[in-house]
Amino acid sequence: MNGSEDVTDLVVPGDTLGEEGMVPGYGTIKRGDDIISTRIGLVSVRGNTVNVIPIRGKYLPRRDDLVIGTVREYSNTNWSFDLNSPYTAFLHFKDVPWDVDFGETGEYLSVGDAAILRITDVDVRYRTTVVLNGPGLKKLNGGRLVKINPTMVPLVIGKNGSMISVLKGATSCRIFIGQNGVLWVDGEPEDVDLVLGALDLIERRCYSKQLNKEIELYFADARMFH
């Protein structure tokens, strides 16, 4: 939301957006000559396209997204992952960095285990396939998993990664943000708590235009009391 586009007012479904000659983008529909918002969110104009960046909603899998999933169940040849979404993702036993034999899937990833995954395919019915072999993808050991509203992910990352740099710099935690709104935070327990507090603040203050500054202040205050 702090991107290069022009982000302005809060809109509700049914609001008319944009000017003549503009094109409807994400979160909008065209009705007659008007562009209508279909969601609650902030208006963003990029070029001649009007988008609504939602501030509420569920994650829908998209190809090439990096996500954090937890194992729901496994069979002889694949695992199914919960992606904090209405849809389950499947991981085949050949798409992992280990040499897994038939029927031995549970020895590598068991129910409740978390991993950073890449979505490789999503069909029209949202049947989702993920892989675990690739750069940056791994099984997660230790740390804490935190769920945030998936629509807040761009805010937590910030413009050119500015917000995530603040979070990492202020706490020396290892943080990974999944596009599905699941975060992995690893570090000293007090630091992790600080990060969780900052995430809560980001979610509540998503409207603020000086969010980075507010988060820096939050960490400065927190340090004074520790």
Binding site: G14, I40, R56, K58, P86, Y87, R205
Partner: protein
């Protein structure tokens, strides 16, 4: 069903005063994805929306769209006479009517194989609870972040010998007819239409005009309420930040 978009009826002061009494509160249930409570007169309904989420049992899932599952429940203490707990014919019928009306509002094709579950708990029931439930549900859908074509709005009109009026009596007499409508925003599209009693053809068009004018006012209040709710969130946080 379509009606002249330029409704000829102008709301009277008493109509306006009655509608203005409506209280709407978003986010009443923390665990739900979206929720809203609506009160007006002797009516008090709270609506919670969960989803889109996986469908259980699986055989109910539709691979082309999300299914809308509504459950309308009257609390035993909601009316003058104690209502026996559990589902009955009336609540089954209203659940179905509301579900069909709300399906018209949402883009269900965007969430195949999922379920959008909408629960209504009626704390106090009086005349006009159905359209208020519809209003509550549409605002809960907004709170849940589910894309919708328009807010569902509505109004009830009581018709008797002296003509239609928006403010209902405390009790309906056999000569009076209750008409409850649900509209798609302030457009001319009706998504719900229920009549309890008889209605002549002449009364019908006049009643539709009145209902549409009432719906328009309710719609404006809904939008204002949603905007106010989110603005209030940001203001209260500003104080916390300081």
């Amino acid at each position: 069903m379509a009606q002249d978009p330029h409704s000829s009826y102008e709301l009277t002061d008493s109509d306006t005063r009655w509608i203005e009494q409506m209280e709407m509160k978003i986010g009443r249930i923390g665990r739900a994805d979206g929720s809203c409570q609506v009160k007006l007169g002797g009516n008090n309904v709270i609506c919670a929306v969960y989803g889109p989420r996986e469908v259980y049992p699986r055989h109910l899932q539709d691979s082309l769209k999300a299914i809308v599952q509504c459950k309308y429940n009257l609390a035993p203490f909601s009316s003058q006479e104690r209502k026996r707990p559990g589902p009955d014919r009336r609540s089954t019928e209203i659940s179905r009517i509301l579900g069909e009306a709300l399906e018209e509002v949402m883009f269900v094709q965007r969430y195949p194989k999922t379920s959008i579950d909408i629960y209504f708990e009626v704390m106090e029931a009086s005349i006009g609870i159905r359209w208020l439930s519809l209003v509550a549900a549409s605002m809960a859908l907004v709170d849940a972040g589910i894309p919708i074509k328009e807010l569902a709005s509505g109004c009830s009109v009581v018709v008797d010998g002296s003509g239609p009026s928006i403010e209902p009596p405390s009790e309906l007499s056999p000569e009076q007819t209750l008409v409850e409508v649900g509209t798609l925003g302030d457009s001319d599209k009706f998504i719900m239409f229920q009549v309890d009693g008889g209605l002549s053809q002449d009364d019908m068009s006049q009643t539709m005009d009145v209902a549409q004018a009432g719906s328009k006012m309710v719609y404006d209040m809904q939008k204002e309420m949603i905007r106010g709710h989110f603005a209030q969130l940001s203001e209260s946080d500003e104080e916390v930040g300081q």
